[in-house]
């Protein structure tokens, strides 16, 4: 890498701290989460018998699902912050930078930020790994088993995060630098509206796999003598389908905003919000994606735990631990997804400051600007919880059927609305916090 590129990258980073923070946070938190589970996996290698298997399953399977969400979130955050730099990349190209130079610049930045995040995250995971192990020790795993996780596991997690971040930046940068330089300088070329075929394939495959696991649960594992067989086939379905739907988020957003287009005739904020949502679905889908995953994983897993607690005969020694473990997993993932929602909103709005200021120049009051962003958040939240609830059904329905509760679980029906309310609240609050400075900003800056 040339020193010019590195110097430019460093200066550009200082210029856009918010986008950098978004990527950094995603990488760091993602590494903490996956790294903690990776230490379980590493411990399983030095253990034998049932304990080894339990640790392996926890580390590889549970950690694996966590990793899927984490990697997806990182890809979507990095993709967002890279795509937002279209204008800057086009400018560099009109000044004579080759597409390869521009891509190197973007990659250098993404790598630098993700590296710092991953290293820090891996260090923290060295501390959270033992904590997670302590939770299991003496419960799911024999007390005599020693924690043997270490730097190898957390480094591997960090490396995975780093690779995904760099890959996501590479894909986004390639998309942004394809075509002639001048064309890309045009502000926001109308989105084609169609997802690339590979995204459709991945999304449909994930949703299909999740649904298939649900069918397996109802038809096969429901009759298994081991009560946890049904859980092992249906437990991850909500996460799978959730991630699958999140991959298809831009299309969902376009469909979901259609009713808002009609309602938008009544309010200027909703009018602007709905058109921005439809015509910039891809940008906003970076916010929608974690909302879907959060809703789907949280509702699915919490309902799973509730059904399990109701239907399993009391006194099973494992029950309490499994409930605890499920709650820990869902708690960690929910926390991660919640941070990603805020993260994505801040990152996407930081980039739109100029546009929001433009609205102020055209005579929008601060309330109208704030209203527009909040309306967007509301559209995202509604589409997110509808898609997320659908995703959670992939776990809830098969598992409820398998435990003979029927299609609708017998209890805890208050749970989904509470989660949904929390998700909507979080989304709107994130938008409100993020828009504050943009709506207030002094208009005079422009005309001076």
């Amino acid at each position: 890498m040339s020193t010019t590129t590195a110097g430019l990258a460093a200066r550009s980073l200082r210029h856009r701290p918010r986008a950098a923070i978004a990527t950094f946070l995603a990488a760091a938190l993602g590494t903490v989460l996956t790294g903690s589970f990776a230490t379980l996996l590493q411990t399983s290698f030095t253990t034998s018998g049932d304990d080894a298997e339990t640790l392996f399953v926890l580390g590889a399977v549970v950690g694996g699902w966590g990793a899927a969400i984490v990697l997806f979130s990182i890809a979507s955050t990095v993709g967002l912050t890279t795509a937002q730099r279209m204008e800057e990349m086009a400018l560099l190209r009109t000044l004579g930078a080759t597409p390869a130079q521009v891509r190197r610049l973007v990659l250098a930045e993404a790598t630098a930020i993700a590296l710092v995040g991953a290293v820090l995250g891996a260090a923290v995971a060295l501390l959270t790994g033992p904590l997670l192990f302590d939770l299991l020790s003496g419960e799911l795993v024999g007390a005599e088993v020693d924690y043997a996780g270490g730097i190898a596991a957390t480094t591997a997690a960090g490396l995975g995060v780093l690779i995904v971040a760099v890959l996501a930046a590479a894909i986004a940068a390639r998309r942004a630098t394809s075509g002639p330089a001048l064309l890309t300088l045009r502000e926001s070329r109308a989105e084609t509206g169609r997802l690339p075929w590979w995204r459709v394939v991945i999304g449909v495959a994930l949703v299909g796999y999740g649904v298939a696991m649900g069918i397996v649960t109802v038809t096969v594992t429901a009759d298994d003598p081991d009560p946890y067989a049904a859980m092992s086939t249906s437990g991850s379905s909500s996460i799978l389908v959730g991630v699958g739907l999140a991959v298809l988020a831009p299309t969902l957003l376009r469909w979901g905003a259609a009713p808002a287009l009609l309602l938008g005739r009544r309010s200027s904020s909703l009018h602007l919000a709905s058109y921005n949502t439809v015509r910039r679905a891809r940008t906003l889908s970076a916010v929608l994606a974690p909302v879907i995953v959060l809703t789907s994983a949280a509702v699915g897993t919490l309902m799973l735990v509730a059904i399990d607690a109701r239907t399993l005969p009391a006194g099973t020694p494992e029950a309490g631990t499994i409930t605890l473990l499920n709650n820990v997993v869902v708690g960690m993932l929910a926390l991660f997804a919640a941070i990603m929602v805020v993260n994505a909103f801040v990152a996407s709005l930081a980039h739109r400051r100029g546009e929001l200021q433009r609205l102020r120049l055209l005579g929008a009051t601060p309330e109208q600007v704030r209203g527009t962003v909040l309306a967007e958040a509301a559209i995202v939240a509604v589409v997110g919880i509808v898609a997320g609830t659908l995703g959670s059904l992939a776990t809830v329905v098969p598992f409820a059927v398998a435990r003979d509760e029927g299609v609708v679980p017998d209890g805890s029906l208050w749970l989904p609305p509470v989660v949904l309310l929390a998700v909507v609240g979080l989304t709107v609050l994130a938008a409100r916090t993020a828009v504050g400075p943009a709506a207030r900003s002094v208009v005079a800056g422009e005309a001076r």
């Binding site: 058109y275 546009e355 120049l361 055209l362 005079a444 005309a447």
Partner: protein
């Protein structure tokens, strides 16, 4: 539009604007008095740093003067709070920016109707169509800004500035980003809005050709009014610009 009303469409009195404080303070405007009668086209000229953009920002309610009054149809904008000023600006001032400032995710027609929407009303589709036709873009109503050329985008911005039938249309280097031919189209449209609709136009420019479309040119230097030129021609404006220092002396 009341041609018989003697109140100027826009008037500034004792307008001063200072940036910063203490020894590093910069005076952009110093006690400026200017009035723009209804149905006139005025060009504001001066070297860079002369305060012409600051003047326009203050006149538009985008910036608060340090002292002085900005009278829009006799009503002082300076004493309004930010919300009231924003509403008055939205309803009574049309603004054309050098960099167009269209919203990229709205079509040309939606961009034109935006000020009306922001005012809480439904844009009159016929009026939007008529304005777009007047600026020669009747067939581009459903295009997004990204699909339009610079000149076309500025014409959309011009239609947008006219949609509320404002008391005054302010233009900040409206042709600064355009080639001379498309610039000519914009200037002709501005001229036509004055002659045909009785619009009041105040345009900041550094281009003698643009200024020659105006009824009068006012020259600013160091935030002060240093000269006026009625019925400007390109040559007269250019030579006056070349000798602005004599006006100051």
């Amino acid at each position: 539009m009341r041609p018989t009303d003697p109140t100027p469409a826009l008037e500034v009195r004792g307008l001063s604007r200072t940036y910063g404080a203490g020894p590093t303070a910069v005076t952009a405007l110093a006690d400026l008095d200017l009035a723009f009668a209804r149905g006139t086209f005025t060009a504001v000229m001066g070297p860079s740093g002369s305060g012409k953009s600051t003047f326009l920002a203050c006149a538009a309610g985008l910036d608060r003067p340090t002292t002085g009054a900005v009278l829009l149809e006799g009503h002082d904008l300076v004493t309004d709070d930010e919300g009231a000023r924003t509403r008055r600006r939205r309803d009574r001032i049309g603004f054309v920016f050098q960099s167009f400032h269209l919203l990229p995710y709205l079509t040309a027609a939606q961009n034109v109707g935006l000020p009306v929407r922001l005012a809480g009303a439904r844009p009159d589709r016929a009026r939007v169509d008529r304005l777009l036709t007047e600026v020669g873009l009747g067939d581009r109503a459903q295009h997004l800004p990204g699909d339009l050329s610079g000149g076309q985008q500025q014409r959309v911005a011009l239609a947008r500035a006219l949609v509320t039938d404002p008391a005054v249309l302010l233009a900040d280097e409206p042709t600064g980003a355009l080639d001379s031919r498309t610039a000519q189209q914009i200037l002709t449209l501005l001229r036509r809005s004055v002659d045909g609709l009785g619009q009041t136009v105040v345009m900041v420019t550094h281009d003698p050709v643009a200024a020659s479309y105006a009824d009068e040119v006012v020259f600013l230097v160091d935030g002060r009014l240093v000269g006026r030129m009625p019925q400007p021609t390109v040559d007269a404006v250019a030579s006056q610009l070349a000798h602005l220092d004599q006006l100051v002396a």
